[in-house]
């Protein structure tokens, strides 16, 4: 036995745990259930609810399992008569002023207070006095309703805002039995992470305003999935009623990705799934208006028109632009359809970084790619560097992971950017510069000449960069605050920075991409090199503007809504086909529109910003005749000489696993083997960091 491990006996069962383990965690590991309210593994001990009382031999009084660290030879009893009396007592205390309105409480049915009362509590109440009353419900903010009578003052929400989100929004007001949860001066509780307190609350005190009174937990079926709103790929459960209606998203803990948290954008962003304006049938333009049609008519028209264009102007005059929120399977088939069936190399995705990288600069991309690390590496970093990046805006849960690393692991943060971001307050060094100076600043941190002449502002950042221990760099390669003509330079200087740092320290980079599956779009060559030999060609959308193409396929992408002047360019094309969830601006200009199913309506995988491939599953049926994009593409390809022959998404997964560089050999060929937590692929950066 190593010195850092201790033996403990819990209810007669022996176990060996690392020194410093909290007794409750040790008991949980061997399947002994100690009831808790205030303790939460992610929040740490506070010991206020007194529910987890246990008897430790040699201690005169009962002790709380959530605040006791195990010592060697400790003998613990969790079901002794004294313990049971204490548990009954605490539950009685918690319930005397509880309104017991379980029938109308949104938590009723999945409520720890309910469950633990059934399991450990007294059957009756001896309380005949007046209950404590509060005005209720209180609208805490846009997302949360608070019922102060149900609250058992476990402080989980307060600790979440003070320790995890660090916005200190929720506080305890007043004293003693009159104390209640509130916000300072009753300001609204507005936060990126407010929804987490709903899940943390062990009673029905904090409930979702959006879902108030709309469901009961026992009606819901859970479907493991992946949040589609950013490339972080937080794991979620989609809760569905009657196999029809998406009721809510809940977090599903994946230590390697989300650490158990979810941002409000993800948690409450599900309205689009069951939206009434979803497309239900294919649409074909007849006499200037889009009218419902059959799939075979739509496919026939697309094939005829594209083949005519190909015959007249060559297949490369057909442009294919996909959305990076499509699944891996969709993107892979999209590329194969255009390349193998249509014969066009004009493929791109949108939205994407609006600059190109020449083949001469490809070393820079390779540098950044090889340093790509996994999200949980943030935890072991000694230094975290933000480079013109705002995780709070792009990938909010990343902010929580960074905060956790800074608070719990004594990492340090350097913020190099144009303006303050929410994390700037945590930075040990801040370096600000004018938008067009990024290149000089990033190189200046390392160039000897610049170092000597460097100003005072550089000193703090430079000192930290010169230190020891692993570094994680987070950057946003769309560089939204940098002038467009400087973005390529910014990326190159970033690679220069990585190269320089690597000489002395372990370096990992995490790109903050924009759209959920952008990494796969790049990996699968949906951002293909174009004829000028670039690695990242000029955005295809820009070339559409200059009239290089005769026909276009927009697969989920909607550039018309965002790019100026594109409406006229698209209208000028001979033929436009669009696959979409609803009638977007781009779809409004199309000749044929196909109804696609969204991520909650199909099986598939996505690759997150750190190249972790994760599986989502079918939670609800697609509306009307809507189909997965891969299926429509496979069906469409049957009208070409080189049809695709995938029968299921798993067959595509197997093909990806066999053919995409980096994925090959790492990605299992079945969804079951990818597993609920996903697998990391092409982990060049991960290995390099080791």
């Amino acid at each position: 036995m190593a010195e850092d491990r201790v033996h403990v006996t819990i209810d007669g069962a022996q176990t060996e745990v690392p020194k410093g383990t909290i007794l409750w965690e040790a008991a949980k590991d061997i399947g002994v259930d100690i009831p808790i309210f205030c303790y939460h593994s992610k929040l740490g001990p506070v010991g206020v609810c007194r529910m987890c009382m246990v008897q430790v031999e040699g201690m005169p009084k009962l002790t709380t399992a959530c605040t006791t660290t195990v010592t060697d030879g400790m003998v613990v009893h969790t079901r002794s008569p004294e313990v049971e009396k204490a548990q009954r007592g605490v539950l009685e205390f918690l319930l005397i002023n509880h309104p017991l309105d379980c029938p109308i409480c949104d938590r009723g049915g999945e409520c720890p207070l309910q469950d633990q009362t059934f399991q450990y509590g007294p059957g009756i109440s001896r309380f005949v006095e007046r209950k404590r009353h509060f005005v209720k419900p209180v609208r805490l903010g846009p997302t949360i309703d608070l019922d102060r009578e149900r609250c058992i003052l476990c402080w989980r929400c307060v600790r979440f805002t003070s320790e995890v989100a660090e916005d200190n929004k929720l506080i305890l007001v007043d004293r003693g039995s009159e104390s209640f949860i509130g916000t300072f001066e009753a300001e609204p509780y507005v936060s990126n992470f407010s929804g987490n307190v709903i899940e943390l609350c062990p009673v029905g005190a904090l409930t979702s305003h959006k879902q108030r009174f709309t469901f009961r937990p026992w009606e819901l079926q859970q479907h493991p999935s992946i949040c589609p709103h950013c490339p972080m790929g937080c794991n979620i459960n989609i809760d569905v009623r009657d196999a029809q209606e998406v009721i809510r998203f809940r977090s599903r803990t994946n230590e390697a990705v989300d650490d158990g948290w979810l941002c409000d954008r993800g948690r409450f962003g599900y309205d689009f799934i069951g939206s009434p304006d979803r497309l239900k049938t294919p649409l074909i333009r007849e006499d200037g208006t889009l009218r419902p049609a059959s799939f075979s008519a739509a496919y026939r028209l697309i094939a005829e028109r594209l083949q005519r264009v190909a015959a007249e102007a060559g297949p490369h005059s057909i442009a294919g632009i996909a959305s990076p929120r499509l699944s891996n399977e969709d993107l892979f088939v999209f590329r194969r359809f255009l390349r193998d069936s249509v014969g066009s190399e004009s493929i791109d995705y949108w939205p994407r970084p609006e600059y190109s990288i020449d083949s001469g600069d490809s070393a820079a991309l390779q540098t950044l790619d090889s340093a790509l690390t996994s999200i949980d590496r943030i935890d072991s970093a000694a230094l975290i560097v933000l480079i013109a990046a705002d995780p709070s805006e792009k990938e909010p849960v990343m902010e929580l992971r960074i905060r956790s690393a800074l608070n719990k692991r004594s990492a340090q943060l350097v913020d190099i950017g144009i303006h303050d971001v929410p994390l700037s307050g945590k930075a040990s060094a801040v370096l600000r510069f004018a938008p067009d100076q990024i290149d000089g600043v990033l190189r200046g941190l390392f160039l000897a000449a610049a170092r000597e002449a460097g100003s005072e502002e550089f000193a703090g950042a430079r000192e930290l960069l010169d230190g020891d221990g692993p570094v994680v760099l987070l950057y946003d390669d769309s560089f939204p605050d940098i002038p467009q003509e400087r973005r390529r330079d910014a990326l190159l200087s970033l690679a220069y920075m990585v190269d320089n740092l690597r000489e002395r320290r372990q370096v990992g980079v995490i790109p903050l991409l924009t759209t959920s599956n952008e990494m796969a779009a790049r990996d699968f060559g949906v951002m293909a090199p174009n004829d000028s030999g670039s690695v990242w060609g000029e955005p295809l959308v820009d070339r559409l503007l200059s009239g290089d193409y005769r026909a276009a396929l927009f697969w989920g992408a909607n550039p018309v809504g965002t790019v100026a002047g594109l409406t006229e360019a698209v209208e000028a094309l001979d033929f436009v086909a669009v696959s979409e969830l609803r009638l977007s601006e781009t779809a409004g200009l199309a000749d044929v529109v196909l109804p696609a199913s969204c991520f909650a309506e199909k099986v598939g995988t996505v690759t997150n910003t750190c190249r972790r491939v994760q599986v989502f599953s079918e939670a609800v049926p697609a509306p009307g005749m809507a189909r997965p994009d891969w299926q429509m593409l496979v069906e469409l390809s049957q009208r070409w000489d080189n049809p695709l022959s995938y029968a299921s998404p798993e067959a595509i997964l197997a093909d990806i696993s066999g053919s995409v560089p980096g994925y090959a050999g790492r990605l299992p060929t079945s969804y079951r083997r990818v597993g609920p937590l996903g697998v990391a692929v092409k982990g060049g950066g991960v290995e390099a960091a080791e």
Partner: protein, 436 residues
């Protein structure tokens, strides 16, 4: 065993609050001796040898507390607990009002012993006048070079700051006091780590009561043996006792430890007023269990009262005369603890409120036969299961009053009214408890 004047020098020299008078009487001599001739560890050893025990209530050996600090540290703090919020206690007030320099010298000596360079005196919020008085005294001492940098020209210096609380009983609990001192809301902290390891601002901290620190200059000046020569073997020294209730001369009296309560009541306080007999008394402030009035031969020290079924606590005696309703008195005590519960842990927050409601109902005539077992069972669900000792305090007098005066509760329940109404005799208690 009788009255003895050590800490209450102001009884002999009313002007001792002035720095010159205090110094003429030998004041700051102990500090000079310590700083010039003694190593910090020697001061600690001296206090340890003297057997001085904490006067705040728990009676923990003071020298031992000082020696719990880690071997190596760069910063440490001394905090003087002057948050005298216990109903019935007013001894620290007199010590600070009448002889502030004695406390300041005690603080400096303790700070020297633990190598602290900053001492804080945390006075309760209501002691505004005392804060101003202490501030003035500290300023005088600073002018005289006794507070601040390079005291007596040596390498060691210490700042003394007075901080006023905001009126919470819980802030008398040492870790809650540290929270409050740091500017947070006062909540007791999780232990371990104890304040001696991680206290104020995360640094090793010693928290001592006013009376404890006031004893230190005398010990350093006169030696441990001198201190041990008074009092009992396990509780050496003198104790300032606050006595309140219907007695002829209520107030503070300094007695040798071990003096029987009867001496305090009859010889010092002049016996019960109006010739009434003593029905019950609380020996150590509202948190100490009450004793029947015939328990008068108990010695005032840390051992005798626990043996008699109570605790000496801060030696704050609250007396109930024969015509006082025990249930009503208990209601006032329960109201105090319900009001002062910080709300951090479930049993204290909910239990103290429930106890108050039940006692109130019994007092109002709505009691039921089954209420007494429920009262006792609720206290049993609280004792030892709360986050800090305050939860236990809230139950101690419920248990004691039912044990000694069960018949009064039963009479309330049987007659469905309070047999003592109206309550003239409880008025002084109301004023003391501040809940009238």
């Amino acid at each position: 065993m009788a009255q003895k004047t050590v800490l209450f020098k102001h009884l002999e020299q009313p002007e001792i609050h002035r720095l010159d008078v205090y110094r003429d009487a030998g004041g700051y001599g102990a500090l000079r001796t310590a700083v010039n001739d003694l190593a910090p560890a020697e001061v600690t050893q001296m206090v340890k040898d003297s057997g001085l025990r904490g006067r705040g209530g728990a009676g923990f050996p003071t020298g031992m507390k000082w020696s719990f600090l880690p071997k190596e540290y760069d910063t440490s703090y001394l905090v003087c607990n002057a948050d005298e919020s216990e109903p019935g206690a007013f001894k620290d007030r007199e010590l600070m009002e009448r002889n502030p320099h004695q406390l300041i010298e005690g603080c400096l000596l303790a700070a020297y012993a633990i190598r602290a360079r900053h001492a804080f005196i945390y006075v309760r919020g209501e002691y505004l006048a005392i804060k101003e008085l202490l501030d003035a005294a500290i300023e005088q001492a600073r002018q005289a070079g006794l507070v601040g940098e390079r005291i007596f020209g040596k390498d060691w210096g210490c700042e003394v700051s007075v901080y006023r609380g905001a009126g919470a009983y819980i802030c008398g609990e040492e870790s809650a006091m540290l929270d409050s001192l740091e500017g947070f809301r006062g909540f007791p902290r999780l232990r371990p780590p104890f304040p001696a390891v991680r206290g104020l601002y995360g640094k090793p901290t010693v928290v001592n009561n006013v009376e404890t620190l006031a004893n230190v200059p005398h010990i350093v000046a006169n030696g441990a043996e001198w201190f041990k020569s008074t009092g009992t073997e396990k509780s050496p020294g003198t104790k300032i006792c606050s006595i309140s209730g219907p007695v002829n001369r209520p107030g503070n009296y300094e007695l040798e430890m071990g003096t029987p309560f009867r001496y305090l009541l009859e010889d010092c306080a002049g016996g019960m007023a109006g010739g009434k007999s003593l029905k019950a008394y609380i020996p150590g402030g509202a948190s100490a269990p009450m004793l029947p009035g015939d328990c008068q031969d108990v010695g005032i020290d840390f051992e005798s009262y626990p043996a008699a079924g109570s605790t000496m606590g801060s030696a704050s005696f609250i007396l109930f005369p024969e015509d006082c309703c025990i249930v009503f008195a208990q209601l006032r005590i329960s109201e105090f603890f319900s009001h002062e519960s910080c709300g951090k842990c479930t049993p204290c927050r909910e239990g103290s409120r429930w106890l108050r409601q039940m006692v109130e109902r019994i007092e109002e005539g709505g009691g039921r036969e089954e209420d007494l077992p429920i009262l006792l069972d609720v206290t049993d669900n609280m004792v030892g299961k709360c986050f800090c000792a305050l939860g236990d305090f809230a139950t101690s007098n419920i248990v004691a009053s039912i044990r000694h005066f069960r018949h009064e509760y039963e009479q309330h329940i049987r007659e469905r009214r309070c047999p003592f109404r109206p309550h003239p005799a409880a008025e002084p208690l109301l004023q003391i408890a501040g809940v009238a």
